[in-house]
Point group: C2
Chain length 345, copies 2
């Protein structure tokens, strides 16, 4: 592969001049410029990004460490991150942690070894050693979606509290009184926060959230299934299950179907994270939608601000409730096909 030396030889100038042309430095004669450009064309020369990075100490690359690529929420996030980064002249390298702390650490370390300019993380656990070191060492870093309390790192996320209040209002309006939640891992902020917000919202209606109605999931389909089965086995099962992410909601749906029960008649269902597939399930699932694309873009902007020496903002965007049919129909008494359960509340 042709190097800058070959171009210099071909154009009959020094490597310094070639470099100047390539970085359009002002003091280059038109004559030299055209000869260099011709040589570049003739040789099909492309600058070696590795060499350039070594010299300039910047890679124009961002690292993105997400918790689970198979989760549509994160792939959408990844897409918007790449898009915005590209617009700002950066590339993105994605690391998939698969919700496993040691894999997260592997990726953080690998990315740092490659001397990425900045790191975008949605931390899987309470903070792996590698990540904490990086944060303390001053590596430009921004948390997206989830974060680690106590670190001086900007956070870009959605605030779901208002939307959760709306959801509870919606559920209460439909007559539901026994509400359960499938939470995420306690080590993640999104895992614990959503449960707290749900409890607070219920409290406003004087509805308690007993421990048996708090399921412990791990943001994966299987855990949603398992927890829901537990709920259904309860002497007094809940009327509604609210899953703290979309995959667990699908697991819940599956568990309900497996018993030959129906949503929403036998058990209503709602989810955090709206994804396009929820429109196509039966019934369409009521969900809380995050402004995922905007989140990704804001995170990139914050990170690039930090990299380029501007003060990076923390950003919190509102999530919003999207009502579909999985909790019952608003107009009619809705859950009319199972009047027994409903009437007792």
């Amino acid at each position: 592969m042709a190097s800058i030396k070959d171009v210099a030889a071909e154009a009959g100038v020094s490597v310094a001049t070639v470099s100047r042309v390539l970085n359009d430095h002002p003091s280059v004669s038109d004559d030299a410029r055209t000869r260099v450009l011709a040589a570049v064309e003739a040789l099909g020369y492309r600058p070696n990004a590795v060499a350039r990075s070594l010299r300039t100490d910047q890679t124009r690359t961002l690292g993105l460490v997400i918790s689970d690529v198979l989760n549509p929420y994160f792939t959408e996030l990844a897409r918007s991150v790449e898009e915005e980064a590209r617009a700002l002249g950066y590339s993105v390298i994605i690391g998939n942690a698969d919700e496993r702390p040691e894999l997260q650490d592997h990726h953080v370390r690998t990315l740092l070894d490659r001397r990425i300019d900045g790191l975008l993380v949605s931390p899987t656990d309470g903070g792996s050693p590698g990540m904490l070191d990086a944060a303390r060492a001053g590596t430009p870093m921004v948390f997206v979606d989830r974060w680690i309390p106590g670190l001086d790192v900007p956070v870009v996320r959605a605030d779901g509290r208002a939307a959760i209040r709306d959801l509870v209002a919606h559920l209460h309006g439909l007559g539901h009184r026994r509400l359960a939640i499938i939470g995420g891992p306690a080590a993640t902020t999104t895992g614990s926060e959503r449960v707290a917000a749900f409890r607070d919202a219920l409290a406003e209606y004087g509805i308690p959230l007993p421990d048996v109605y708090i399921g412990q999931g791990d943001f994966q389909v299987e855990s949603g299934r398992r927890v829901t089965e537990g709920f259904l086995d309860l002497p007094e099962p809940p009327e509604v299950v609210f899953a703290a992410d979309n995959l667990m909601a699908l697991g819940a749906l599956d568990a309900v179907r497996a018993r030959g029960l129906r949503v929403p008649e036998d058990l209503a269902l709602a989810a955090f994270d709206d994804i396009r597939w929820f429109v196509h399930t039966d019934p369409p699932i009521t969900a809380i939608a995050q402004p995922t694309g905007e989140l990704g873009r804001a995170a990139v902007r914050a990170l690039v601000d930090q990299i380029e020496g501007r003060p990076p903002p923390s950003v919190t965007l509102p999530a919003r409730l999207v009502v579909r049919r999985s909790c019952g129909e608003p107009g009619e008494p809705g859950t009319s096909s199972s009047p027994v359960r409903r009437s007792q509340s």
Copy 2:
């Protein structure tokens, strides 16, 4: 950030010795080794991958250019690729082409500039200039899923022909005679091949595939919807629609629902590419499953073979039919709720 020089100084040896310890070269005294290791530990030293790559002319990085990250098929592929690559000591950089040739070209170019060791591509179009150049220049390269005919590049893919024959047999057995297909872009191999295989399979039953039953999609949800609406508007609409990818199948499902029709009673539906969500739709969708994970792993192995100088194999794995309920029930006359259409065949 500490460099190898700092480590050398701290340990009281030369940089050469440090490098030898790090690459566990045999001739280093135990004494020197322990001192170096201690210094590495004390300084939190991590080798600079950029500098190493420049010197060794290898990055131990693979590029993966896929057509659409939002398509679950490709995210699953990406996951298995990263997994296998990691096992073999390589990292992966993903480029999302979003089914746009110019974006594909951008990513190929960027990846090549970074001097990745090899390229895994699922080409969006007939081959962008950058990719063709790379292939001809001898960059280690492997095509996954889709490929470009006429290039001497190994291809790792699934052969769906047998599965499509099974599907047609299944449909024929259920009494369906008017079968339509939503194909992908003609520029992609998977776009045209699946249509051809479908036509061949139909021919075995003496069933023609008229042009009006061949829809032109682009592997996106919206095109599935559009084409299906066209089918439904036909004077004699098909009894079955076979979508050449999962997103178009969802679009089709959507179009059917929007008219208040039912699957499979009013229109049966099948898809190429099985994804986990198909189990959760109503009805669960009959699909042709590719061995996606195995495909990704085989592709990585072929690419690494090529990189490390071994002859890379082309691999073709069989796809298989997964029967669910979207085409009617096997046991009963199945589509009994619309006996009219069925009886006329």
